[in-house]
């Protein structure tokens, strides 16, 4: 991590020196070398991110459970939030049997997202076991996303099922909004007895930003209420910071390709270092001048 920061800082130093000390007799800044560094740095970040995620599996993250009747689109929502097809989706009710878990990042926080079996009356023992697990998971979860098929009328059992869940941590997700909702969010809240409801289409990936924002808000509130969690949140932020650095480096690569001037390259390089600095706790601006002065002979 430190080494990564060090090489990047080295490039930024050259860029900055070429701006702030252009009157001095200094070696010229070579964009080609910066490009090489950026590419290497991205590879290093990718490696770090992998180990980071593996390590974090052990730690606790915010637990978000998806719950709901069969075939309402829970697995579709799960996939949509993950951004990849992890769970099997099919028009057959009772597709998901066991619980599925995956990490997602919402605004810098790590969440453990869980997909569960659809809740229904059943005689199948395996399915019943799955439903039991699902209910237990919802009980322990930090947040519950209760999915209903918004294009259908609300079944009686649904309200019952919802009443078992702590309203503080509950969000009703009215899925399949692309098919047209049968009722408004307000009506849904009233009929389902829930405080919050949001319309989404897991299929068309609509409304997911609102959903993420809701998760984020709830998470921040919890973290702020409790010092212990804050420590976890900071740790979870590291991965987010690495991703941020990676994005900045990608932009840097593009900018160099386009022949952008030094002050533009500097923005991207700084974004990257800033993100890394959030982890290492090192202030870039101080390190920057420090390095310029030790490396170059500057001044009257």
């Amino acid at each position: 991590m430190r080494a990564l920061e060090e090489t990047l800082l080295g490039e930024l130093v050259l860029i900055e020196a070429s701006i702030d000390f252009s009157e001095e007799d200094l070696p010229a800044h070579a964009p080609g070398a910066t490009l090489e560094t950026a590419t290497k740095a991205r590879a290093a970040i990718a490696a770090l991110l992998e180990s980071e995620i593996a390590g974090e599996r052990l730690r606790r993250g915010i637990r978000v459970t998806i719950l709901g009747g069969p075939n309402v689109g829970k697995s579709s929502l799960y996939n949509a939030l993950l951004g990849e097809e992890r769970a099997i989706v099919s028009p057959v009710a009772g597709t998901t049997r066991d619980i599925l878990r995956e990490r997602i990042h919402v605004g810098g926080f790590t969440c453990r997202l869980e997909d569960t079996a659809g809740i229904a009356e059943t005689r199948c023992e395996i399915e019943a076991k799955g439903i039991e697990i699902a209910r237990a998971a919802a009980l322990e979860a930090d947040l519950v996303l209760f999915v209903v098929d918004g294009s259908e009328e609300i079944a009686n059992e649904t309200k019952n099922e919802i009443s078992r869940i702590d309203p503080e941590k509950l969000l009703c997700v009215l899925n399949k909004s692309d098919l047209g909702l049968r009722y408004s969010r307000e009506e849904a809240r009233e009929r389902l007895g829930a405080r919050d409801a949001l319309a989404v289409s897991a299929l068309k990936r609509e409304g997911l930003e609102n959903l993420r924002a809701w998760i984020f808000d709830k998470t921040v509130k919890r973290a702020a209420g409790d010092l212990d969690r804050e420590r976890i949140a900071v740790n979870a932020r590291q991965a987010a910071a690495l991703r941020e650095a990676d994005e900045a480096l990608e932009r840097l690569e593009t900018a160099i390709g386009e022949g952008a001037p030094a002050e533009i390259l500097s923005v991207d390089a700084r974004c990257a270092l800033d993100a890394l600095g959030a982890i290492t706790g090192r202030s870039m601006s101080e390190a920057l001048l420090e390095t310029i002065f030790t490396k170059f002979c500057i001044g009257k």
Partner: protein, 635 residues
Amino acid sequence: MTIVEKPEFDIIVVGGGHAGCEAALAAGRMGFSTLLVTMSREHIARMPCNPAIGGLAKGQLVREVDALGGEMGLAIDETGIQFRMLNRAKGPAVWSPRAQADKNAYHRRMLHAIESADNIVLVEAEATAVLARNGMVEGIEAAGEKRYYAPKVILALGTFPNGLMHIGEESFPGGREGEPPSCRLADQIASLGIERGRLKTGTPARLARASVDFSRCEEQAGDKDPSPFSFRTGKIGGDQVPCHITYTNARTHEIIRRNLDRSPLYAGRIRGVGPRYCPSIEDKVVRFSDRERHQLFLEPEGRESAEIYINGLSTSLPRDVQEEMVRSIAGLGGAVIVRYGYAIEYDYYPPHQLLPTLESRRIGGLYFAGQVNGTSGYEEAAAQGLMAGINAGRSLAGRSPLILGRHEAYIGVLLDDLVTKEIDEPYRMFTSRAEHRLVLRQDNADERLFKHGVRCALLPRGLWEETIARRKRVARARRFIERHSLAAEECSRILASKGQGSVSSPLKASLLLQRPGISIKDIEGSLPAGSLGLEPREKEALEIGIKYDGYIRRQKKLAERMLQIEKVRIPPEFSYDIEALSAEARLKLEKFRPLTLAQASRLSGVRSSDLSILMIHLGKRARDERGSAGRGKIV
């Protein structure tokens, strides 16, 4: 002893350097009766070092001082003898104006501004004490007896507090060459409980112009079409005077090495810390021993001046060594030194003791500006003087202080750095200190700051109205070119003329302009005649706006995120006795006592985990207080 007369002023400024002059002028222009006390009117706004104003980052500062109604820009425009826009090869965000100054003319110009100003009384005297009672300033004492009273006092003492000069083995008290130091006042300020430290700086020798062989040096000319510093200057007049470039060589370095033991720096006689960005030649030779030569600029001290300043050869070696060293340099073989280089150590008052208005936290109404805050440079000093003057005035008038944000001005960066950073070497501005460099450009200082200058009554209202009209015209033109498409063949023709590949479908004019290497001149001919209708300056603004678009937005976003925590205020008496905070953070927070969470975030040693903890405790405190509202006052 009783003093009968009791002169009353609104604001007293001590020190007529670059900081003091701006402070006094701002105070006077805001309508306050102002007393400027300085040792000698002959030394008003003197430049003890480089005969130049502006330069990288400093040029931006001067533009900002001007856009707030300060004097520096106007003064250098009238008395500069060579103007250059630095960094032209790079993008406009980092262009910086710089000018060689005629030192005497500059001094006379500034003295005239002071003496012809309404509301300013200039008194030649040495201030010997700050009068304070119950933590509030009351005035000053001059020459150990005479008292002047005012509710606001601005100290702009430069390198004079306990100044100690060094040349070789000699050292002697002095404020700078030929001027006495200020020792009584320096010690008296410390006795008021204000912490001080020691810094050092130096200057090179001056040569007799007639003794330099310029034919052996490279010439460096000014810009053909010089741009002024001040938004209020029409055109720069007068011929441009050239500078010259030469280099040190192996022999020069050998002479220096041989005599290091006679250098006060290396013999350990200087305790103050010097700036790393402005090292003496001794330092350069020792620290960068692999360099075969160092670049030197030969700069005239004025249009008619017989003296040449050797930029790059700052030194405090003994006089005979200075001579030998100079004569080893190309073009300087027969050079005669008219004044020797020296180093100076002086007291400063670390600025963590100040509020962002530059007012002392310890003594109300007492302001510090310029070198006394540990900065270095005429421009940095002028900026602080101006802000101290403005804020002293606003406070007297019962108005809210003017505190510029880091995203708003280099001046904002400067003052914020002063109150959040450990100043352990003379502080100078660099563009890399500004997180929002693309927005803080020299070309748009008016757009950023005229409103404040006008609001403080330092500039006429009309200027701001013009700026708004200009901004509207640029915005209109921008909307036009963001909508107007150019045919594929047209785009390809323009791209081809710049040696770039063709396109197969029409492009919006703005997208074409975003391509590196394409400027507004290239596409203008392809737009309907008169569709832009802009003056050259406005066209430039349009182009910059489009070219930096995505990057400016990214920086603005960053600024907004910061603004959020900028709004979270930390009560002045807040207790940092919080176990979860790291020990280092606690120390720093207690020392600097930041006013906002954003300031706290900029203290070195305060990590994001510390900030989260602070945020939680601040939130808890606010809740507790809301709970008991009605009984206590909420800060």
